[in-house]
Protein backbone atom coordinates (compact mmCIF):
# COMPACT_ATOMS: atom_id res chain seq x y z
CA UNK A 1 0.00 0.00 0.00
CA UNK A 2 1.29 3.38 -0.98
CA UNK A 3 0.06 5.20 2.06
CA UNK A 4 1.67 2.90 4.56
CA UNK A 5 4.85 3.35 2.60
CA UNK A 6 4.74 7.12 3.03
CA UNK A 7 4.15 6.84 6.74
CA UNK A 8 7.23 4.60 6.96
CA UNK A 9 9.15 7.18 4.95
CA UNK A 10 8.16 9.93 7.36
CA UNK A 11 9.70 8.00 10.22
CA UNK A 12 12.99 7.47 8.39
CA UNK A 13 13.18 10.99 6.97
CA UNK A 14 12.19 12.82 10.13
CA UNK A 15 14.33 15.92 10.79
CA UNK A 16 15.17 14.41 14.16
CA UNK A 17 17.11 11.58 12.57
CA UNK A 18 18.07 12.82 9.17
CA UNK A 19 19.62 16.07 8.12
CA UNK A 20 18.61 15.42 4.57
CA UNK A 21 14.86 15.73 5.23
CA UNK A 22 14.69 19.10 3.58
CA UNK A 23 15.87 17.68 0.28
CA UNK A 24 12.60 15.87 -0.02
CA UNK A 25 10.19 17.85 2.14
CA UNK A 26 9.32 21.53 2.34
CA UNK A 27 7.20 21.16 5.47
CA UNK A 28 7.47 18.58 8.20
CA UNK A 29 5.32 18.16 11.31
CA UNK A 30 6.76 15.99 14.04
CA UNK A 31 4.84 14.63 17.03
CA UNK A 32 2.45 17.56 16.95
CA UNK A 33 -0.35 17.74 19.50
CA UNK A 34 -2.68 20.64 20.14
CA UNK A 35 -4.78 20.40 23.27
CA UNK A 36 -7.59 22.85 24.08
CA UNK A 37 -9.13 22.49 27.54
CA UNK A 38 -8.21 18.84 27.69
CA UNK A 39 -9.54 18.18 24.21
CA UNK A 40 -6.94 16.85 21.82
CA UNK A 41 -7.69 18.70 18.59
CA UNK A 42 -4.58 17.48 16.85
CA UNK A 43 -2.34 14.46 17.35
CA UNK A 44 -0.01 13.91 14.44
CA UNK A 45 2.96 11.60 14.69
CA UNK A 46 4.64 12.64 11.48
CA UNK A 47 3.52 14.41 8.34
CA UNK A 48 5.66 15.70 5.50
CA UNK A 49 4.77 17.75 2.46
CA UNK A 50 7.18 17.36 -0.43
CA UNK A 51 8.51 20.15 -2.63
CA UNK A 52 6.09 21.18 -5.38
CA UNK A 53 3.44 18.86 -4.07
CA UNK A 54 -0.25 19.62 -3.98
CA UNK A 55 -1.53 17.86 -0.89
CA UNK A 56 -5.23 17.65 -0.23
CA UNK A 57 -6.40 17.23 3.35
CA UNK A 58 -9.89 15.89 3.88
CA UNK A 59 -11.75 14.76 6.96
CA UNK A 60 -15.07 15.14 8.73
CA UNK A 61 -15.98 18.29 10.66
CA UNK A 62 -13.84 18.72 13.73
CA UNK A 63 -11.13 16.44 12.39
CA UNK A 64 -8.51 19.13 13.00
CA UNK A 65 -7.98 20.37 9.44
CA UNK A 66 -8.17 24.03 10.27
CA UNK A 67 -6.24 23.51 13.50
CA UNK A 68 -3.48 21.98 11.38
CA UNK A 69 -3.38 25.17 9.29
CA UNK A 70 -3.41 27.26 12.46
CA UNK A 71 -0.41 25.38 13.81
CA UNK A 72 1.57 25.68 10.58
CA UNK A 73 0.81 29.38 10.16
CA UNK A 74 1.61 30.19 13.80
CA UNK A 75 -1.92 31.24 14.77
CA UNK A 76 -2.04 28.41 17.32
CA UNK A 77 0.97 27.12 19.25
CA UNK A 78 1.20 23.33 19.34
CA UNK A 79 1.12 21.87 22.86
CA UNK A 80 4.01 19.56 22.02
CA UNK A 81 6.04 18.76 18.93
CA UNK A 82 7.84 20.70 16.24
CA UNK A 83 7.08 22.25 12.88
CA UNK A 84 9.90 22.39 10.33
CA UNK A 85 9.79 24.48 7.21
CA UNK A 86 12.36 25.01 4.51
CA UNK A 87 15.35 23.67 6.45
CA UNK A 88 14.50 25.35 9.78
CA UNK A 89 12.28 24.91 12.79
CA UNK A 90 9.41 27.41 12.92
CA UNK A 91 7.45 26.12 15.92
CA UNK A 92 8.03 29.26 17.97
CA UNK A 93 7.98 31.93 15.26
CA UNK A 94 5.24 34.59 15.20
CA UNK A 95 2.56 34.68 12.49
CA UNK A 96 4.27 37.58 10.77
CA UNK A 97 7.68 35.89 10.78
CA UNK A 98 6.16 32.73 9.34
CA UNK A 99 4.55 34.71 6.55
CA UNK A 100 7.86 36.38 5.77
CA UNK A 101 9.55 32.96 5.68
CA UNK A 102 7.13 31.99 2.92
CA UNK A 103 3.91 30.44 4.18
CA UNK A 104 0.77 32.14 2.87
CA UNK A 105 -2.75 31.36 3.89
CA UNK A 106 -6.31 31.74 2.64
CA UNK A 107 -8.92 31.39 5.34
CA UNK A 108 -12.13 29.42 5.22
CA UNK A 109 -14.26 32.54 4.86
CA UNK A 110 -12.65 34.78 2.26
CA UNK A 111 -10.95 37.56 4.19
CA UNK A 112 -10.45 40.70 2.17
CA UNK A 113 -10.39 44.32 3.27
CA UNK A 114 -13.93 45.56 2.72
CA UNK A 115 -13.23 49.28 2.50
CA UNK A 116 -10.38 48.91 0.03
CA UNK A 117 -10.76 48.39 -3.70
CA UNK A 118 -9.82 45.17 -5.47
CA UNK A 119 -6.62 46.79 -6.67
CA UNK A 120 -5.72 48.17 -3.25
CA UNK A 121 -6.31 44.76 -1.70
CA UNK A 122 -3.83 43.31 -4.16
CA UNK A 123 -1.35 46.11 -3.64
CA UNK A 124 -1.16 45.40 0.09
CA UNK A 125 -0.22 41.80 -0.63
CA UNK A 126 2.86 42.71 -2.69
CA UNK A 127 5.81 41.03 -1.02
CA UNK A 128 8.66 43.22 0.21
CA UNK A 129 6.57 46.28 1.10
CA UNK A 130 5.63 45.46 4.67
CA UNK A 131 7.81 47.97 6.53
CA UNK A 132 6.55 51.12 8.23
CA UNK A 133 8.61 54.03 6.85
CA UNK A 134 8.84 53.06 3.18
CA UNK A 135 5.06 52.86 3.19
CA UNK A 136 4.81 56.40 4.48
CA UNK A 137 7.27 58.00 2.09
CA UNK A 138 7.49 55.56 -0.80
CA UNK A 139 5.41 55.71 -3.93
CA UNK A 140 3.29 52.79 -5.07
CA UNK A 141 5.56 50.49 -7.07
CA UNK A 142 4.49 50.91 -10.71
CA UNK A 143 6.37 47.92 -12.05
CA UNK A 144 4.23 45.51 -10.10
CA UNK A 145 1.01 46.91 -11.52
CA UNK A 146 1.32 44.66 -14.55
CA UNK A 147 1.64 41.58 -12.42
CA UNK A 148 -1.44 42.53 -10.35
CA UNK A 149 -3.44 43.13 -13.53
CA UNK A 150 -2.25 39.84 -14.99
CA UNK A 151 -3.50 37.86 -11.99
CA UNK A 152 -6.79 39.74 -11.81
CA UNK A 153 -7.28 39.19 -15.52
CA UNK A 154 -6.79 35.47 -15.02
CA UNK A 155 -9.54 35.26 -12.38
CA UNK A 156 -11.85 37.68 -14.17
CA UNK A 157 -11.61 40.51 -11.67
CA UNK A 158 -9.93 43.01 -13.98
CA UNK A 159 -13.17 44.92 -14.46
CA UNK A 160 -13.71 45.25 -10.72
CA UNK A 161 -10.37 46.97 -10.22
CA UNK A 162 -11.67 50.12 -8.54
CA UNK A 163 -14.61 48.55 -6.79
CA UNK A 164 -14.60 48.34 -3.01
CA UNK A 165 -14.35 44.74 -1.89
CA UNK A 166 -17.55 44.94 0.14
CA UNK A 167 -19.52 45.23 -3.12
CA UNK A 168 -18.02 42.05 -4.62
CA UNK A 169 -20.02 38.81 -4.78
CA UNK A 170 -19.06 35.84 -2.62
CA UNK A 171 -17.36 34.11 -5.52
CA UNK A 172 -15.44 37.24 -6.43
CA UNK A 173 -14.29 37.62 -2.84
CA UNK A 174 -13.01 34.03 -2.87
CA UNK A 175 -11.14 34.86 -6.06
CA UNK A 176 -9.71 38.00 -4.64
CA UNK A 177 -8.51 36.12 -1.55
CA UNK A 178 -6.84 33.53 -3.78
CA UNK A 179 -5.35 36.24 -6.03
CA UNK A 180 -3.92 37.96 -2.97
CA UNK A 181 -2.31 34.69 -1.98
CA UNK A 182 -0.87 34.12 -5.45
CA UNK A 183 0.52 37.64 -5.58
CA UNK A 184 2.26 37.34 -2.23
CA UNK A 185 4.09 34.42 -3.85
CA UNK A 186 4.79 32.22 -0.83
CA UNK A 187 6.70 28.95 -1.04
CA UNK A 188 3.87 27.13 0.66
CA UNK A 189 0.20 28.02 0.23
CA UNK A 190 -2.35 26.93 2.82
CA UNK A 191 -5.69 27.06 1.08
CA UNK A 192 -8.66 26.46 3.36
CA UNK A 193 -11.85 25.45 1.46
CA UNK A 194 -11.29 27.37 -1.75
CA UNK A 195 -14.44 25.97 -3.38
CA UNK A 196 -16.87 26.76 -0.58
CA UNK A 197 -19.92 28.54 -1.95
CA UNK A 198 -18.71 28.61 -5.54
CA UNK A 199 -20.70 27.64 -8.63
CA UNK A 200 -19.61 24.60 -10.66
CA UNK A 201 -17.90 26.70 -13.28
CA UNK A 202 -16.08 28.69 -10.62
CA UNK A 203 -15.05 25.47 -8.88
CA UNK A 204 -13.56 24.12 -12.09
CA UNK A 205 -11.57 27.28 -12.62
CA UNK A 206 -10.31 27.17 -9.03
CA UNK A 207 -9.05 23.61 -9.50
CA UNK A 208 -7.34 24.58 -12.74
CA UNK A 209 -5.63 27.50 -11.07
CA UNK A 210 -4.38 25.51 -8.10
CA UNK A 211 -2.92 22.91 -10.44
CA UNK A 212 -1.17 25.66 -12.38
CA UNK A 213 0.33 26.96 -9.16
CA UNK A 214 1.78 23.55 -8.43
CA UNK A 215 4.53 24.04 -11.02
CA UNK A 216 6.42 26.50 -8.83
CA UNK A 217 4.71 26.32 -5.44
CA UNK A 218 3.83 23.79 -2.78
CA UNK A 219 0.21 23.71 -1.71
CA UNK A 220 -1.91 22.30 1.07
CA UNK A 221 -5.58 22.37 0.13
CA UNK A 222 -8.30 21.64 2.65
CA UNK A 223 -11.57 20.70 1.04
CA UNK A 224 -14.93 19.07 1.67
CA UNK A 225 -16.18 18.93 -1.89
CA UNK A 226 -15.30 15.48 -3.29
CA UNK A 227 -15.80 16.54 -6.91
CA UNK A 228 -13.29 19.26 -6.38
CA UNK A 229 -10.83 16.85 -4.75
CA UNK A 230 -11.24 14.49 -7.69
CA UNK A 231 -10.41 17.29 -10.09
CA UNK A 232 -7.20 18.03 -8.24
CA UNK A 233 -6.16 14.38 -8.62
CA UNK A 234 -3.47 14.59 -5.96
CA UNK A 235 -2.15 12.79 -2.93
CA UNK A 236 -4.70 12.93 -0.12
CA UNK A 237 -4.33 12.85 3.66
CA UNK A 238 -7.39 11.88 5.68
CA UNK A 239 -7.62 13.40 9.13
CA UNK A 240 -9.98 12.01 11.72
CA UNK A 241 -10.26 13.08 15.35
CA UNK A 242 -7.00 14.95 15.02
CA UNK A 243 -5.03 11.98 13.70
CA UNK A 244 -3.78 10.98 10.28
CA UNK A 245 -6.08 8.10 9.42
CA UNK A 246 -4.82 7.26 5.98
CA UNK A 247 -2.94 8.66 3.03
CA UNK A 248 -3.03 7.88 -0.66
CA UNK A 249 -4.72 8.75 -3.90
CA UNK A 250 -8.44 9.38 -3.73
CA UNK A 251 -9.28 6.21 -5.68
CA UNK A 252 -7.21 4.11 -3.27
CA UNK A 253 -8.81 5.77 -0.26
CA UNK A 254 -12.27 5.11 -1.60
CA UNK A 255 -11.53 1.41 -1.24
CA UNK A 256 -10.30 1.82 2.34
CA UNK A 257 -12.96 0.44 4.73
CA UNK A 258 -11.84 2.57 7.64
CA UNK A 259 -12.01 5.79 5.63
CA UNK A 260 -15.42 4.92 4.21
CA UNK A 261 -16.65 4.22 7.72
CA UNK A 262 -15.41 7.50 9.12
CA UNK A 263 -16.00 9.85 6.26
CA UNK A 264 -16.71 8.93 2.69
CA UNK A 265 -19.57 6.51 3.03
CA UNK A 266 -22.73 7.56 4.76
Amino acid sequence: MKHTQRIEDYKNDSPKFSRLWSERYLLFLEEITAVFDGFKALDIEALGIEHNELRVIIGPNGAGKTTLCDVVSGKTRPTTGSVYFDDAEITHESETEIVLLGIGRKFQTPTVFDSLTTYENMELALPGHQKLWPNLFGRAPAVERDRILEILERVGLAEELNREAKYLSHGQRQWLAISVLILSNPKLLLVDEPAAGLTDAETALTAELLLELKTDHTLIVIEHDMDFVRRLDSFVTVLNEGQVMAEGTLSKLQENEEVIEAYLGR
Binding site: S73, V99, R105, F107, F113, L136, A140, V180
Partner: protein
Protein backbone atom coordinates in the same frame (compact mmCIF):
# COMPACT_ATOMS: atom_id res chain seq x y z
CA UNK B 1 -13.49 60.27 -14.77
CA UNK B 2 -14.92 61.53 -11.50
CA UNK B 3 -12.35 60.63 -8.87
CA UNK B 4 -9.66 63.14 -9.89
CA UNK B 5 -12.13 65.95 -10.61
CA UNK B 6 -13.84 65.17 -7.32
CA UNK B 7 -10.49 65.34 -5.50
CA UNK B 8 -9.75 68.63 -7.21
CA UNK B 9 -13.15 70.00 -6.25
CA UNK B 10 -12.84 68.98 -2.58
CA UNK B 11 -9.27 70.32 -2.62
CA UNK B 12 -10.45 73.71 -3.85
CA UNK B 13 -13.29 73.70 -1.31
CA UNK B 14 -10.83 72.89 1.49
CA UNK B 15 -8.39 75.62 0.48
CA UNK B 16 -11.14 78.23 0.25
CA UNK B 17 -12.48 77.34 3.71
CA UNK B 18 -8.91 77.55 5.02
CA UNK B 19 -8.44 80.97 3.42
CA UNK B 20 -11.70 82.21 4.93
CA UNK B 21 -10.34 81.19 8.32
CA UNK B 22 -6.88 82.62 7.70
CA UNK B 23 -7.77 85.91 5.95
CA UNK B 24 -11.56 86.34 6.05
CA UNK B 25 -11.97 86.37 9.83
CA UNK B 26 -9.09 88.84 10.47
CA UNK B 27 -10.49 91.11 7.74
CA UNK B 28 -13.93 91.00 9.41
CA UNK B 29 -12.20 91.96 12.66
CA UNK B 30 -10.29 94.86 11.10
CA UNK B 31 -13.44 96.15 9.42
CA UNK B 32 -15.08 96.05 12.82
CA UNK B 33 -17.83 93.51 12.15
CA UNK B 34 -16.64 91.03 14.77
CA UNK B 35 -14.97 91.87 18.09
CA UNK B 36 -11.60 90.39 19.09
CA UNK B 37 -13.36 88.19 21.66
CA UNK B 38 -15.08 86.31 18.84
CA UNK B 39 -11.77 85.88 17.02
CA UNK B 40 -10.28 84.57 20.26
CA UNK B 41 -13.19 82.15 20.72
CA UNK B 42 -12.82 80.86 17.15
CA UNK B 43 -9.12 80.40 17.83
CA UNK B 44 -9.87 78.20 20.83
CA UNK B 45 -12.34 76.11 18.87
CA UNK B 46 -9.80 75.67 16.11
CA UNK B 47 -7.35 74.40 18.73
CA UNK B 48 -10.02 71.78 19.51
CA UNK B 49 -10.32 71.06 15.80
CA UNK B 50 -6.59 70.27 15.72
CA UNK B 51 -7.07 67.51 18.32
CA UNK B 52 -10.11 66.27 16.41
CA UNK B 53 -8.14 65.88 13.16
CA UNK B 54 -5.58 63.69 14.92
CA UNK B 55 -8.30 61.66 16.59
CA UNK B 56 -10.01 61.12 13.24
CA UNK B 57 -6.84 59.66 11.75
CA UNK B 58 -6.69 57.33 14.73
CA UNK B 59 -10.37 56.45 15.08
CA UNK B 60 -11.91 57.10 11.67
CA UNK B 61 -9.13 55.58 9.58
CA UNK B 62 -7.46 53.05 11.84
CA UNK B 63 -10.47 52.14 14.00
CA UNK B 64 -8.67 52.77 17.30
CA UNK B 65 -11.04 54.49 19.72
CA UNK B 66 -8.77 56.37 22.09
CA UNK B 67 -10.15 58.17 25.12
CA UNK B 68 -6.86 59.76 26.09
CA UNK B 69 -6.66 62.44 23.40
CA UNK B 70 -7.84 64.81 26.14
CA UNK B 71 -4.80 63.77 28.19
CA UNK B 72 -2.45 64.52 25.28
CA UNK B 73 -4.22 67.83 24.75
CA UNK B 74 -3.71 68.60 28.45
CA UNK B 75 -0.02 67.64 28.32
CA UNK B 76 0.47 70.15 25.52
CA UNK B 77 -1.58 72.70 27.44
CA UNK B 78 0.47 72.19 30.60
CA UNK B 79 3.77 72.47 28.73
CA UNK B 80 2.72 75.81 27.26
CA UNK B 81 0.98 76.85 30.50
CA UNK B 82 4.11 76.23 32.56
CA UNK B 83 6.07 78.40 30.15
CA UNK B 84 3.47 81.16 30.48
CA UNK B 85 3.40 80.89 34.27
CA UNK B 86 7.18 81.34 34.37
CA UNK B 87 6.70 84.68 32.67
CA UNK B 88 3.81 85.78 34.87
CA UNK B 89 3.98 87.33 38.35
CA UNK B 90 6.53 85.78 40.69
CA UNK B 91 6.25 85.33 44.45
CA UNK B 92 8.74 84.56 47.19
CA UNK B 93 12.12 83.60 45.78
CA UNK B 94 11.10 83.89 42.18
CA UNK B 95 8.49 81.17 42.35
CA UNK B 96 5.62 81.55 39.84
CA UNK B 97 2.52 82.71 41.70
CA UNK B 98 0.35 79.92 40.35
CA UNK B 99 2.66 77.43 42.03
CA UNK B 100 3.23 79.49 45.16
CA UNK B 101 -0.43 79.80 46.12
CA UNK B 102 -1.06 76.08 46.25
CA UNK B 103 2.11 75.04 48.08
CA UNK B 104 1.92 74.10 51.74
CA UNK B 105 5.36 75.44 52.63
CA UNK B 106 5.44 79.16 53.26
CA UNK B 107 9.21 79.60 53.21
CA UNK B 108 12.08 77.72 51.71
CA UNK B 109 10.09 76.82 48.61
CA UNK B 110 12.31 76.20 45.63
CA UNK B 111 11.37 75.68 42.04
CA UNK B 112 10.97 71.93 41.35
CA UNK B 113 13.56 70.63 38.88
CA UNK B 114 11.02 69.70 36.21
CA UNK B 115 9.74 73.27 36.06
CA UNK B 116 13.10 74.67 34.96
CA UNK B 117 13.20 73.63 31.29
CA UNK B 118 9.76 75.18 30.70
CA UNK B 119 11.18 78.64 31.21
CA UNK B 120 12.41 78.74 27.62
CA UNK B 121 9.89 78.91 24.81
CA UNK B 122 11.59 76.57 22.30
CA UNK B 123 12.15 73.90 24.95
CA UNK B 124 8.59 74.21 26.28
CA UNK B 125 7.28 74.00 22.72
CA UNK B 126 9.32 70.88 21.90
CA UNK B 127 8.32 69.25 25.20
CA UNK B 128 4.68 70.04 24.46
CA UNK B 129 5.03 67.87 21.36
CA UNK B 130 7.46 65.29 22.74
CA UNK B 131 5.73 64.52 26.05
CA UNK B 132 2.41 63.41 24.50
CA UNK B 133 4.41 61.53 21.87
CA UNK B 134 6.45 59.63 24.46
CA UNK B 135 3.41 58.83 26.61
CA UNK B 136 1.57 57.59 23.51
CA UNK B 137 4.57 55.50 22.51
CA UNK B 138 4.55 53.80 25.91
CA UNK B 139 0.78 53.23 26.00
CA UNK B 140 0.86 52.06 22.39
CA UNK B 141 3.81 49.76 22.90
CA UNK B 142 2.28 47.89 25.82
CA UNK B 143 -1.30 48.09 24.60
CA UNK B 144 -0.81 47.11 20.97
CA UNK B 145 1.86 44.46 21.55
CA UNK B 146 -0.47 42.65 23.93
CA UNK B 147 -3.25 43.14 21.37
CA UNK B 148 -5.58 45.22 23.51
CA UNK B 149 -8.29 46.18 21.07
CA UNK B 150 -11.64 47.86 20.56
CA UNK B 151 -13.60 48.73 23.64
CA UNK B 152 -10.84 47.40 25.92
CA UNK B 153 -8.41 49.89 24.48
CA UNK B 154 -10.97 52.65 24.98
CA UNK B 155 -11.37 51.63 28.64
CA UNK B 156 -7.60 51.39 29.13
CA UNK B 157 -7.00 54.87 27.72
CA UNK B 158 -9.88 56.34 29.71
CA UNK B 159 -8.45 54.83 32.88
CA UNK B 160 -5.03 56.31 32.13
CA UNK B 161 -6.61 59.73 31.55
CA UNK B 162 -8.50 59.58 34.85
CA UNK B 163 -5.33 58.49 36.65
CA UNK B 164 -3.47 61.42 35.11
CA UNK B 165 -6.25 63.77 36.17
CA UNK B 166 -5.95 62.57 39.78
CA UNK B 167 -2.18 63.02 39.71
CA UNK B 168 -2.37 66.52 38.25
CA UNK B 169 -4.94 67.47 40.91
CA UNK B 170 -2.55 66.67 43.78
CA UNK B 171 -0.92 69.72 45.31
CA UNK B 172 2.11 67.61 46.24
CA UNK B 173 2.86 67.00 42.59
CA UNK B 174 3.71 70.72 42.32
CA UNK B 175 1.63 71.07 39.19
CA UNK B 176 -0.60 73.72 40.78
CA UNK B 177 -3.32 71.24 41.79
CA UNK B 178 -6.96 71.77 40.92
CA UNK B 179 -6.37 75.54 40.60
CA UNK B 180 -4.41 74.81 37.49
CA UNK B 181 -2.05 77.18 35.75
CA UNK B 182 -3.12 80.79 36.07
CA UNK B 183 -1.75 84.31 35.74
CA UNK B 184 -0.63 84.24 32.13
CA UNK B 185 0.74 87.65 31.20
CA UNK B 186 3.13 87.49 28.27
CA UNK B 187 4.05 85.06 25.54
CA UNK B 188 7.50 85.43 23.99
CA UNK B 189 7.55 89.02 25.29
CA UNK B 190 4.12 90.05 23.94
CA UNK B 191 1.25 91.11 26.20
CA UNK B 192 -1.46 88.44 26.03
CA UNK B 193 -4.22 90.98 26.59
CA UNK B 194 -3.31 93.01 23.51
CA UNK B 195 -5.81 92.46 20.64
CA UNK B 196 -3.05 92.10 18.05
CA UNK B 197 -1.41 89.34 20.12
CA UNK B 198 -4.78 87.62 20.32
CA UNK B 199 -5.14 87.94 16.57
CA UNK B 200 -1.61 86.59 16.14
CA UNK B 201 -2.48 83.57 18.28
CA UNK B 202 -5.61 83.05 16.21
CA UNK B 203 -3.64 83.11 12.97
CA UNK B 204 -1.03 80.72 14.37
CA UNK B 205 -3.86 78.35 15.35
CA UNK B 206 -5.36 78.43 11.86
CA UNK B 207 -1.93 77.79 10.34
CA UNK B 208 -1.30 74.93 12.78
CA UNK B 209 -4.70 73.46 11.97
CA UNK B 210 -3.81 73.58 8.29
CA UNK B 211 -0.47 71.97 9.07
CA UNK B 212 -2.05 69.19 11.17
CA UNK B 213 -4.63 68.61 8.46
CA UNK B 214 -1.97 68.35 5.74
CA UNK B 215 0.05 65.87 7.80
CA UNK B 216 -2.99 63.68 8.43
CA UNK B 217 -4.12 63.96 4.81
CA UNK B 218 -0.65 62.97 3.64
CA UNK B 219 -0.63 59.91 5.92
CA UNK B 220 -4.16 58.95 4.87
CA UNK B 221 -3.36 59.22 1.16
CA UNK B 222 -0.06 57.36 1.35
CA UNK B 223 0.24 53.60 1.04
CA UNK B 224 0.38 53.60 4.82
CA UNK B 225 -3.11 55.11 4.86
CA UNK B 226 -4.41 52.03 3.09
CA UNK B 227 -2.68 49.85 5.66
CA UNK B 228 -4.44 51.83 8.41
CA UNK B 229 -7.82 51.16 6.75
CA UNK B 230 -6.86 47.50 6.45
CA UNK B 231 -6.15 47.45 10.20
CA UNK B 232 -9.63 48.84 10.81
CA UNK B 233 -11.22 46.24 8.51
CA UNK B 234 -9.32 43.13 9.55
CA UNK B 235 -6.15 43.33 11.58
CA UNK B 236 -5.56 39.57 11.64
CA UNK B 237 -5.65 39.24 7.89
CA UNK B 238 -3.03 41.96 7.64
CA UNK B 239 -0.79 39.93 9.92
CA UNK B 240 -1.07 37.06 7.44
CA UNK B 241 0.19 39.35 4.70
CA UNK B 242 3.42 39.82 6.67
CA UNK B 243 2.68 43.19 8.28
CA UNK B 244 3.24 43.99 11.94
CA UNK B 245 0.04 45.91 12.74
CA UNK B 246 1.26 47.09 16.14
CA UNK B 247 4.02 49.18 14.53
CA UNK B 248 1.53 51.01 12.34
CA UNK B 249 -0.86 51.49 15.24
CA UNK B 250 1.93 52.87 17.43
CA UNK B 251 2.94 55.25 14.67
CA UNK B 252 -0.54 56.66 14.14
CA UNK B 253 -1.18 56.83 17.89
CA UNK B 254 1.98 58.87 18.41
CA UNK B 255 1.11 61.18 15.51
CA UNK B 256 -2.39 61.76 16.90
CA UNK B 257 -0.97 62.37 20.39
CA UNK B 258 1.54 64.96 19.15
CA UNK B 259 -1.18 66.71 17.19
CA UNK B 260 -3.29 66.67 20.35
CA UNK B 261 -0.38 68.27 22.24
CA UNK B 262 -0.12 70.96 19.56
CA UNK B 263 -3.82 71.74 20.05
CA UNK B 264 -3.34 72.05 23.80
CA UNK B 265 -0.35 74.37 23.39
CA UNK B 266 -2.39 76.74 21.25
CA UNK B 267 -5.43 76.53 23.50
CA UNK B 268 -3.72 77.48 26.77
CA UNK B 269 -2.60 81.05 25.87
CA UNK B 270 -5.94 81.82 24.20
CA UNK B 271 -7.94 80.56 27.17
CA UNK B 272 -5.78 82.36 29.74
CA UNK B 273 -5.93 79.47 32.21
CA UNK B 274 -5.26 75.75 32.02
CA UNK B 275 -6.64 73.38 34.67
CA UNK B 276 -6.75 69.58 35.12
CA UNK B 277 -10.41 69.87 34.05
CA UNK B 278 -9.38 68.93 30.50
CA UNK B 279 -8.32 65.48 31.69
CA UNK B 280 -11.76 64.55 32.99
CA UNK B 281 -13.81 61.87 31.27
CA UNK B 282 -16.17 64.53 29.93
CA UNK B 283 -13.54 65.99 27.63
CA UNK B 284 -12.39 62.62 26.31
CA UNK B 285 -15.95 61.85 25.31
CA UNK B 286 -16.53 65.34 23.90
CA UNK B 287 -13.59 64.98 21.54
CA UNK B 288 -15.01 61.71 20.26
CA UNK B 289 -18.38 63.43 19.77
CA UNK B 290 -16.80 66.20 17.67
CA UNK B 291 -15.36 63.63 15.29
CA UNK B 292 -18.55 61.57 15.19
CA UNK B 293 -20.75 64.59 14.51
CA UNK B 294 -18.48 65.76 11.72
CA UNK B 295 -18.17 62.32 10.18
CA UNK B 296 -15.52 59.70 10.83
CA UNK B 297 -12.76 58.95 8.39
CA UNK B 298 -12.95 62.19 6.45
CA UNK B 299 -10.53 64.51 8.36
CA UNK B 300 -12.38 67.60 7.15
CA UNK B 301 -15.42 66.25 9.00
CA UNK B 302 -13.43 66.34 12.24
CA UNK B 303 -12.68 70.04 11.77
CA UNK B 304 -16.30 70.72 10.89
CA UNK B 305 -17.59 68.69 13.84
CA UNK B 306 -15.34 70.42 16.38
CA UNK B 307 -16.37 73.86 15.12
CA UNK B 308 -20.09 73.12 14.76
CA UNK B 309 -20.47 71.46 18.17
CA UNK B 310 -18.53 74.17 19.98
CA UNK B 311 -20.19 77.03 18.17
CA UNK B 312 -23.62 75.64 18.95
CA UNK B 313 -22.46 75.16 22.54
CA UNK B 314 -21.48 78.80 22.58
CA UNK B 315 -24.72 79.93 20.95
CA UNK B 316 -27.08 77.86 23.08
CA UNK B 317 -25.38 78.49 26.42
CA UNK B 318 -25.61 82.22 25.78
CA UNK B 319 -29.33 82.07 24.86
CA UNK B 320 -30.70 79.21 26.98
CA UNK B 321 -27.98 77.70 29.14
CA UNK B 322 -30.25 75.03 30.66
CA UNK B 323 -30.84 73.32 27.35
CA UNK B 324 -27.28 72.66 26.23
CA UNK B 325 -26.99 69.17 27.74
CA UNK B 326 -30.22 68.15 26.01
CA UNK B 327 -28.89 69.38 22.70
CA UNK B 328 -25.59 67.60 23.24
CA UNK B 329 -27.34 64.34 24.11
CA UNK B 330 -29.64 64.63 21.10
CA UNK B 331 -26.66 65.30 18.85
CA UNK B 332 -24.84 62.22 20.03
CA UNK B 333 -27.84 59.91 19.87
CA UNK B 334 -28.78 61.33 16.47
CA UNK B 335 -25.30 60.71 15.12
CA UNK B 336 -25.25 57.13 16.39
CA UNK B 337 -28.75 56.20 15.27
CA UNK B 338 -29.59 58.36 12.27
CA UNK B 339 -26.43 59.79 10.74
CA UNK B 340 -23.55 57.36 11.32
CA UNK B 341 -21.52 59.27 8.73
CA UNK B 342 -22.12 62.58 10.48
CA UNK B 343 -22.39 65.96 8.80
CA UNK B 344 -20.04 64.94 6.00
CA UNK B 345 -22.29 61.97 5.25
CA UNK B 346 -25.35 64.21 5.02
CA UNK B 347 -23.43 66.62 2.83
CA UNK B 348 -22.27 63.84 0.51
CA UNK B 349 -25.80 62.48 0.19
CA UNK B 350 -27.14 65.93 -0.67
CA UNK B 351 -24.36 66.55 -3.15
CA UNK B 352 -24.99 63.22 -4.80
CA UNK B 353 -28.70 63.94 -5.09
CA UNK B 354 -28.03 67.34 -6.64
CA UNK B 355 -25.36 65.79 -8.86
CA UNK B 356 -27.79 63.12 -10.06
CA UNK B 357 -30.42 65.71 -10.86
CA UNK B 358 -27.86 67.73 -12.81
CA UNK B 359 -26.58 64.75 -14.74
CA UNK B 360 -30.09 63.57 -15.68
CA UNK B 361 -30.86 67.09 -16.86
CA UNK B 362 -27.73 67.01 -18.98
CA UNK B 363 -28.77 63.68 -20.41
CA UNK B 364 -32.21 65.03 -21.23
CA UNK B 365 -30.60 67.96 -23.01
CA UNK B 366 -28.32 65.64 -24.94
CA UNK B 367 -31.20 63.41 -25.98
CA UNK B 368 -33.14 66.49 -27.04
CA UNK B 369 -30.25 67.50 -29.20
CA UNK B 370 -30.21 64.01 -30.72
CA UNK B 371 -33.89 64.26 -31.55
CA UNK B 372 -33.41 67.68 -33.08
Amino acid sequence: MTKSTQNLRTGIAGISVFLIGLIGIPVLYFVGIIPIETVNMLGRYMAFAIVAVGLDLLWGYTGILSLCQAFFFALGGYAMGMYLVHHGPLDGDGIPRALYVVSSEVTGLTLPWFWKPFKYFPIAFLLGLALPGIVALLIGYFGFISRVRGVYFAILTQAITVAAWLIFCLNNMKLCGTNGLTNFVTIAGFELTHPNVKLGLYVSTVLSLGFAYIICRYVANSRLGRILIAIRDNENQLRFLGYKPHLFKMFVFVVAAMIGGLGGMLYAPQMGIFTPEYMTAKWSILMVIWVAVGGRGTLSGAVLGALVVNLSYNFITSKAPDYWLFVQGTLFIGVVLLFPDGLMGIWKRLAMRIGNRLSTREQVEISNVDVA
